[in-house]
């Protein structure tokens, strides 16, 4: 080997050393960048016997990345569902109450607790039917029950409207992420063709996919030219060379029975009952589940309770040979002239009110509770106590019986179709709390999985400062040796030239 070859080796060594130092510096600079994949300089022996950094490998791990995005999607969906259900569960939140040690009115604010209070008030009224304060107490308990159904119904509507707004902002985020993805993907494709370092562009792509997974469940594939395609977890294309348009029209007001708009990806509906390929995960799927399934189901249960109440407190024709139809009594809805069918109760929970004829604050007569005739005061056909006896308890006992009597409910509301009003209201509370518990558990679980997957990914592809420092020391030593070599070869040259 000639001395000039030695020079060549030295200069390639210095160049390789510089390239590796750049890699180490880059790694150290990004030690705290989430989602950064560490780089490794691949050193090979060149034709002179020296060394070259032939390429830089990005320490990616597609499998773990996929796991991170899947678990992130699941966690985001469950989180969205859990948030919505927590708000629904507030309508039945009785946990602030004590164990009812001091009688009624201690049971919280749920329709179920209000129904129990009404039953208690009626029981007290039955013991003192001549007491107008007992009658007033029944009317006010009934009024509380109606308001609690109204406010629960309003909460459901709010939850659905919030979910609708969240869907709109989620769709906005998805579209903007897809646009960012386009430029990152183009950078990778062009970079690969020109042989440039695409690590940073690939990091950006991965980070966008992870952010996208928050909003909508995704899966990805990479084509031979390095272009990455994104599909929803249900298989609809979100990005293939160009982004597909995700569109959604928000509905600002979602009253009971109204359906919100659907999200479409490139024209294919991905939410709603009629979607051929509904998305399964991501916050968007969670919001859609709340808006389209869970909240409406709870609303239907509230409507059933309201319908059941109006029917239970309805007044029948008391004539010897009844001919007149039964009419709404204590509970009614504005302008109602007949008892509602239990199969068409939409909107009742929002509209239910106590009959003004029995409400003293609206000029009504609370004694009609005992005597009957709330539906049509003065009409003898609907009067249960024709003599006006002050201690007549037949009607009051009848009403108490109606609350605990088994009635039929619409099975499509998701609860047992044959139950007493009390049991049905309790079953509805159980339903909400069970859904809330499940969503909360699932959310904690998926969050734990996502954290685990993120840690695993970070350990597989992240930077360890100590390792980089060790590399740095190696490089320092190698640099020092090379410099020493250079000095030695130079002095050899000098000696050679002086000898000459």
């Amino acid at each position: 080997m000639s001395l000039s070859t030695a020079f060549n080796v030295i200069s390639s060594s210095l160049a390789a050393n510089a390239a590796q130092t750049a890699v180490v510096s880059n790694n150290i600079a990004n030690v705290n960048t989430p989602g950064y994949s560490r780089e490794i300089g691949n050193v090979v022996t060149n034709s002179y016997g020296g060394s070259d950094v032939a390429s830089i490998t990005r320490e990616a791990n597609a499998a773990l990345l996929e796991q991170v995005s899947t678990s992130t999607s699941q966690a985001a969906a469950q989180q969205a569902i859990s948030d919505g259900l927590t708000r629904l569960a507030q309508t039945v939140d009785d946990s602030s109450s004590t164990s009812s040690t001091s009688g009624a009115n201690q049971n919280g604010a749920s329709p179920s607790a209000m129904l129990a209070n009404l039953q208690s008030a009626l029981t007290t009224y039955a013991d003192s039917p001549s007491s107008s304060s007992a009658a007033d107490a029944v009317v006010s308990a009934a009024s509380d029950l109606a308001s609690s159904l109204n406010s629960a119904s309003a909460t459901v509507q709010q939850v659905r409207e919030t979910a609708d707004q969240n869907m709109a902002s989620s769709v906005g985020t998805i579209n903007s992420l897809l646009n960012q993805f386009t430029s990152a993907n183009n950078a990778v494709v062009t970079g690969l063709q020109t042989g440039a370092n695409v690590s940073s562009a690939e990091d950006t792509r991965d980070s966008i996919v992870t952010q996208l997974a928050q909003q909508i469940g995704v899966s990805t594939t990479v084509a031979a030219n390095g272009s990455e395609s994104i599909y929803t977890d249900s298989g609809v294309t979100l990005f293939q060379d160009t982004p597909r348009t995700v569109s959604f029209t928000p509905t600002p007001t979602l009253v009971d029975g109204a359906n919100g708009g659907v999200v479409t990806v490139g024209g294919v509906p991905v939410t709603g009952a009629n979607s051929p390929m509904p998305i399964q995960s991501g916050a968007l799927a969670g919001y859609a589940a709340i808006r389209d399934t869970l909240a409406p189901e709870y609303q239907a249960q509230l409507d059933q309770v309201a319908g059941g109440l109006i029917n239970a407190f309805g007044e029948g024709d008391q004539s010897a040979s009844p001919t007149l139809p039964s009419l709404p009594g204590l509970f009614t809805t504005p302008g109602e002239t007949s008892l509602p069918s239990m199969l068409a109760t939409t909107g009742l929970a929002a509209a239910i009110e106590i009959n003004p004829n029995v409400d003293p604050s609206q000029g009504g007569n609370p004694n009609l509770l005992r005597d009957g005739g709330i539906s049509d005061p003065g009409n003898p056909a609907y009067t249960y106590n024709p003599t006006g006896a002050a201690s007549y308890t037949g009607r009051i006992q009848d009403l108490i019986g109606q609350i605990s009597a088994t009635r039929s409910f619409d099975p499509s509301a998701g609860l047992d179709s044959s139950a007493s009003l009390t049991d049905y209201a309790n079953a509805s509370v159980s339903w909400v709390q069970a859904q809330n518990q499940q969503a909360s558990d699932a959310s904690s679980y998926q969050n734990a999985v996502a954290t685990q997957a993120t840690s695993a990914l970070s350990n597989a592809t992240g930077v360890n400062l100590d390792a980089e420092m060790t590399n740095m020391l190696n490089l320092e030593n190698s640099y020092a040796s090379t410099a020493k070599l250079l000095t030695t070869v130079t002095s050899m040259f000098t000696a050679l030239l002086q000898a000459a």
């Binding site: 705290n32 109450s97 164990s99 179920s112 001549s130 006896a389 159980s430 709390q433 518990q437």
Partner: protein, 355 residues
């Protein structure tokens, strides 16, 4: 040198690995503190899930039993009031009976018969019009109206008018008329058991005497247990006593002959005795309702204990377990803080010689 597999830990992960567990422990600690201070689960709904409805139904049962127990005290008060009024009526009847037994016809003895009748009738009427709260206890369900109108009112009550009218119809004179002295004992007897007795029965009774309803009030004293909680002034006892006292009051001090007065006294004694007996029967009936209420209260109180025990099982946290949880969480958090501080020291750069 390449490090792979489980041995490789990224510095970012190492630095942040304790953040998650610390936050989780802190939120658990908050819950545990709440549980410690309230004795109940921090979020009951989340804890119970689909048991929530069952828990609510237990609470409702507790509330229902408490309402019934409270209501029973109102009913008991009404019943006790009725009982003491009945006792008074019954003892008055007994006194009258004793007085009648001691009575013998003489010149002025008519006035004492009349006094007996008058005071007896007044106390019967005031007894029958006893109120408890705003309810007349002997009114049946028609508890807002005094069951028996004042006999001695001015203008003359319907009852008084009807009595005078019946006497006039039968004998052609009023009891105070001197001509009434001609009425024989047997005529008087048949008048008393005939037209006069009819005034205290059936439609005449409800028209002239009683505003009470024959329907008694009833109350639910325990779930599914309903008892009659009043009696009413239409019971035979009230009619018999009213009849006896009225005949004494109206015909005792009248112009009747001694024989006829004797007939009045005899008829009255028999009615008062029957009336006193039926008062005892009525009291027995109410007494059985009272004992039913006592029994119901006892059984509801033991049910309440059981139900509240069940509720406690669902709602309450074990204070010992919570205390242990709090101390172990506090330890965990302290440990995590310490570790975080130490991990920050674990950095190769700190140990390299400065050149």
């Amino acid at each position: 040198m390449t490090i792979v597999g489980a041995n490789f830990v990224s510095t970012n992960y190492l630095a942040n690995s304790l953040v998650g567990p610390v936050m989780q422990a802190q939120s658990q600690l908050t819950n545990a503190m709440t549980e410690m201070s309230t004795g109940q689960y921090a979020d009951l709904g989340l804890q119970l899930g689909d048991q929530s409805g069952y828990e609510l139904s237990l609470k409702e049962q507790v509330g229902q039993l408490q309402t019934l127990t409270t209501g029973n005290s109102v009913v008991s008060t009404n019943l006790s009031t009725a009982q003491s009024a009945l006792t008074a009526i019954q003892s008055n009847a007994q006194t009258t009976l004793n007085n009648l037994a001691a009575w013998t016809p003489s010149g002025t003895s008519g006035a004492s018969l009349q006094n007996m009748g008058q005071s007896g009738l007044q106390s019967l009427i005031s007894g029958a019009n006893t109120t408890s709260g705003d309810q007349y206890v002997f009114g049946g369900i028609n508890s807002a109206v005094a069951p028996i109108a004042d006999y001695y009112s001015t203008p003359a009550s319907a009852a008084k008018t009807a009595v005078d009218q019946a006497f006039q119809t039968t004998f052609g004179v009023l009891p105070s008329d001197p001509a009434a002295a001609n009425i024989s004992a047997s005529d008087m007897q048949s008048f008393l058991s005939g037209p006069f007795a009819a005034l205290f029965q059936g439609a005449s009774w409800s028209t002239d005497w009683s505003s009470a309803s024959s329907d008694n009030t009833s109350a639910t004293i325990a779930p599914g247990q309903t008892v009659t909680t009043s009696t009413n002034a239409n019971q035979a006892g009230f009619q018999q006593l009213a009849q006896a006292y009225t005949m004494l009051s109206e015909f005792g001090g009248s112009a009747l002959s001694s024989d006829a007065q004797q007939a009045v006294a005899t008829a009255a004694a028999s009615l008062v005795s029957q009336g006193a007996d039926s008062m005892i029967d009525i009291q027995a009936g109410l007494g059985s309702s009272q004992s039913a209420i006592t029994g119901a209260n006892n059984s509801m109180s033991s049910q309440l204990t059981i139900l509240q025990g069940q509720l406690g099982n669902l709602d309450n946290v074990d204070p010992t377990a919570t205390a242990t949880e709090i101390s172990s969480l506090t330890n965990q958090i302290q440990m995590a803080y310490e570790l975080t501080a130490r991990l920050q020291q674990l950095n190769l750069a700190q140990y390299l010689p400065v050149t």
